[in-house]
């Protein structure tokens, strides 16, 4: 039996399974689904599709010392009468911050970008039953930069880089880009940050059968001179092995 507010959450099951609901909306959906059989059924039906997604990833071998690090941590946990309820994440935060410091880079945990803040406000709007479309009016702090394409190799390709406020994830969207013969074994598009003479691996770009795709650059493009896309072997390369097929100048 559906809950009285079922209409509001009818399309939320998929976003919930993809971890794509903002926190407040996720909490509201969790409360709703407990009393709504159709939504519970939808969650269970779509779960198999979401569980298949990580299996699409090119398998890579983790570094050998990761195994030792994990087992050392487990041993320490055992010897310290590990608290099963203690969250592990603060250790990650501390280590990431420590690596920032050791690299001479401040942690720079900046306030969220304007569009992230807007998302939070919008989440509150959803919970309050407001019309979210009215609140989405474009984000003035975002910048869209068109890519330059090597037309001899990407005949119909185009790309746009969405540049949010500094340090936040950037997103490269492409269209008209051919899929490589077999992205799992023979090649993949790799995204690079260019800073001076450095070429820094930034992301892998998946392209669908219709030639469109998108790659998230988690560390953002702040202080990068350009973003490049090249064709590389599965799993990515240490450095570009060809001239970029697509580039975005950030000068």
């Amino acid at each position: 039996m559906s809950a009285p507010d079922h209409d509001r959450y009818e399309d939320s099951a998929a976003a919930h399974l993809l971890d794509a609901l903002p926190e407040l909306e996720e909490q509201a959906f969790a409360r709703h689904v407990m009393g709504c059989a159709p939504c519970r059924d939808e969650v269970e039906r779509l779960r198999a599709a979401v569980e298949a997604l990580p299996r699409s990833v090119t398998p890579l071998r983790p570094p050998p010392d990761l195994r030792r690090s994990i087992m050392d941590a487990v041993a320490a946990d055992l010897s310290g009468a590990g608290d099963e309820t203690a969250p592990a994440r603060p250790a990650l935060v501390a280590r990431v911050r420590e690596r920032f410091r050791s690299a001479g880079v401040g942690p720079r945990l900046r306030p969220a970008a304007a569009w992230v803040s807007a998302a939070v406000l919008l989440a509150a709007g959803v919970v309050a039953g407001l019309a979210t479309d009215e609140l989405l009016g474009g984000e003035p702090d975002d910048r869209r930069v068109a890519a330059t394409v090597d037309e001899s190799r990407l005949v119909e390709g185009s790309g746009t880089l969405l540049v949010p406020e500094a340090d936040d994830p950037a997103v490269l969207s492409v269209n008209g880009v051919p899929t490589l013969p077999d992205a799992n074994t023979n090649g993949i598009y790799q995204v690079w940050l260019v800073r001076g003479d450095e070429r820094i691996p930034a992301a892998l770009l998946s392209v669908g059968a219709d030639g469109s795709g998108a790659a998230t650059i988690p560390q953002g493009v702040d202080d990068a001179d350009a973003v490049w896309v090249t064709r590389e072997r599965a799993g990515g390369s240490r450095a570009p092995t060809e001239r970029p097929v697509m580039s975005v100048s950030l000068d």
Partner: protein
């Protein structure tokens, strides 16, 4: 898994040996940075160890459970903006670990990845894009709506349609 739940670290090593590769691969696919992917994988496995008593076989395979925790941890890192300027430490690529000889398990996993990738590629582009931005990019539906200049309802609808089609495709292949 019963031995792991009883607190046997050697049994946990076996869990890592079986699922550490897919876990690391997923984290790397999401953050595009080797060092951060290692950090996340380590924290995820420590979390798995600590929460081992909560695993319920009837709710899914160990692999699904492990990858779900890795995914949540990576989303958490992405949203908390921890994946920052790791550029100098990320310069090392992964090609050296793409060993010329592959184990039988690795071959099976590559075949599996190819199958699921093919099913994803079979989705309409706009459905595949919102699913990938959400699952691998860690973005909320509202952030995706803002990026792609489309209403939130459209994004959620495309997620739903895409997952439904993916489910049907995968079920058909398994039949």
């Amino acid at each position: 898994m019963q031995l792991v739940q009883d607190g046997d670290p050697r049994a946990f090593e076996v869990v890592y040996d079986r699922h550490g590769g897919p876990a690391f691969s997923l984290a790397y696919r999401m953050v595009g940075n080797r060092v951060v992917a290692e950090d996340i994988t380590q924290e995820a496995f420590l979390s798995i160890w600590r929460s081992r008593s909560r695993y319920q076989r009837e709710r899914g395979s160990v692999r699904t459970w492990v990858l779900g925790i890795v995914h949540h941890r990576t989303i958490d890192a992405l949203r908390r903006n921890l994946v920052h300027d790791r550029r100098r430490t990320s310069a090392e690529g992964l090609e050296e670990r793409e060993a010329a000889e592959r184990t039988e398990v690795e071959v099976v996993r590559r075949d599996e990845a190819r199958t699921v990738r093919s099913a994803l590629d079979g989705l309409p582009g706009e459905q595949c894009r919102v699913i990938e931005l959400a699952y691998f990019g860690g973005f909320t539906h509202m952030q995706i709506a803002s990026m792609l200049d489309m209403p939130v309802g459209t994004v959620k609808g495309r997620m739903r349609l895409g997952l439904e089609k993916l489910r049907r495709t995968m079920a058909g292949e398994a039949a």
